[in-house]
Amino acid sequence: MIELINNKLIVVDDMGNIAVYEDESLATLIDSMKLIIDDVIIDEKLIEPVEDIYYYLIEKIYIMPDYAKWNNVSFKDKPKQKLLRALNKFIHDKISRRTK
């Protein structure tokens, strides 16, 4: 299970062991996403397939954090939810790939 507590990514394994993920790039991504979707929730249950474009936007902001800062952008609720799903998948994939 991956959670966001006090702006830190926490991974809890099946045995209940807690590990903090110190990853500056992911932390920056979450900060950038806060500019767009306000309330960033990290929860595996949110992972559901969305259109490719949402994954691309997350990947782009991960690679180029300034991309989110160039304009004031307001997404409506539905695209925000999809961005959140794509963000969760991105973070989950990154962390689980590393864990393996």
Binding site: D52, I53, E59
Partner: protein, 279 residues
């Protein structure tokens, strides 16, 4: 009067390849044939295409080939302008200026002329009838288009007068694309970042409505280069809706190997994605 910046920020561009015929054979261009064909646009096809696009903010780029050769260009322009969601842009080698001068007086049409993109053409103009001069600064949305080709970079210092004339807000400067084998000022032999190519694939700089085959073509670069057949789709309401919402085009094999120039900032700012995804 429309503002170019507004159109660039808020409209999705689609290339309308009205005809592939052209009356010039510019050395940098691959998107033409000297055979004169399809010079009358099928208005029923145009109307149905515009109807499918009726709810979307679209910048309709009329090109080809040379749109100035189209016999019913006036009719085409009037049809596009009849929907306030659509902006008409014409890219011409100056034939439009000669045959349809009224276009230049209409500030609601973005008129872009590329009769001198490259100083190579300067030599051509000495051989044939004199071309028109560059557009001065104006409020009619008439623009010079200069693509910074290798020749442009190589010879621009020899043309200080021309360079000064081009130095105004009505000149659009564009990077050259990947058709050059090598040029050190912009690294053309380096691929754009994969994420930028993926985003470009989702909605290319300009997808194409091909008036010859009457279909949608994924990528205008591939279409114009004639090198690799770009994916084609039938023109239906469903496909247009998918296209305008980033669900029609995928990251194809030809995108993976694409060497075209893609702006590092991505060709869409985030607010443009937001405006479309918010619909």
């Amino acid at each position: 009067m429309i503002k170019l910046a507004d159109v660039q920020n808020n409209y999705l561009a689609i290339d309308f390849f009205l005809t592939m015929s052209c009356n010039k054979d510019c050395h940098y261009c691959t998107s033409y044939t000297l055979e004169q064909r399809n010079l009358t646009v099928d208005m029923d096809f145009l109307r149905s295409t515009l109807y499918y696009l009726r709810n979307y903010k679209v910048r309709c780029n009329l090109l080809g080939g040379e749109p100035g050769l189209v016999k019913n260009l006036d009719e085409v322009v009037a049809e596009i302008k009849s929907n306030p969601n659509h902006v008409c842009e014409i890219l011409s080698n100056s034939t439009v200026r000669r045959r349809y001068p009224q276009v230049l007086k209409d500030p609601d049409i973005i008129y872009v002329e590329h009769f001198i993109l490259d100083f190579y053409e300067h030599e051509i103009s000495l051989l044939g009838p004199k071309s028109y001069d560059f557009h001065d600064e104006n409020e009619f949305n008439n623009y010079n288009l200069v693509i910074k080709t290798p020749n442009f970079e190589k010879y621009k210092h020899l043309y200080p007068k021309e360079m000064k004339k081009l130095d105004n807000k009505n000149t659009l400067w564009k990077e050259f694309n990947g058709r050059a084998p090598d040029f050190n000022e912009i690294k053309l032999n380096v691929q754009a970042a994969e994420i930028d190519r993926k985003m470009c694939a989702a909605f290319p700089m300009v997808p194409v409505i091909n008036f010859e085959n009457k279909n949608i073509v994924h990528c205008s670069k591939k279409f114009a280069n004639n090198a690799i057949t770009s994916k084609e789709f039938e023109i239906t309401q469903e496909n247009i809706d998918k296209m305008m919402n980033f669900r029609l085009f995928k990251y194809e094999n030809y995108c993976k190997g694409c060497m075209e120039y893609v702006q590092p900032k991505g060709h869409f700012p985030l607010k443009k994605y937001a405006s479309i995804l918010n619909e």
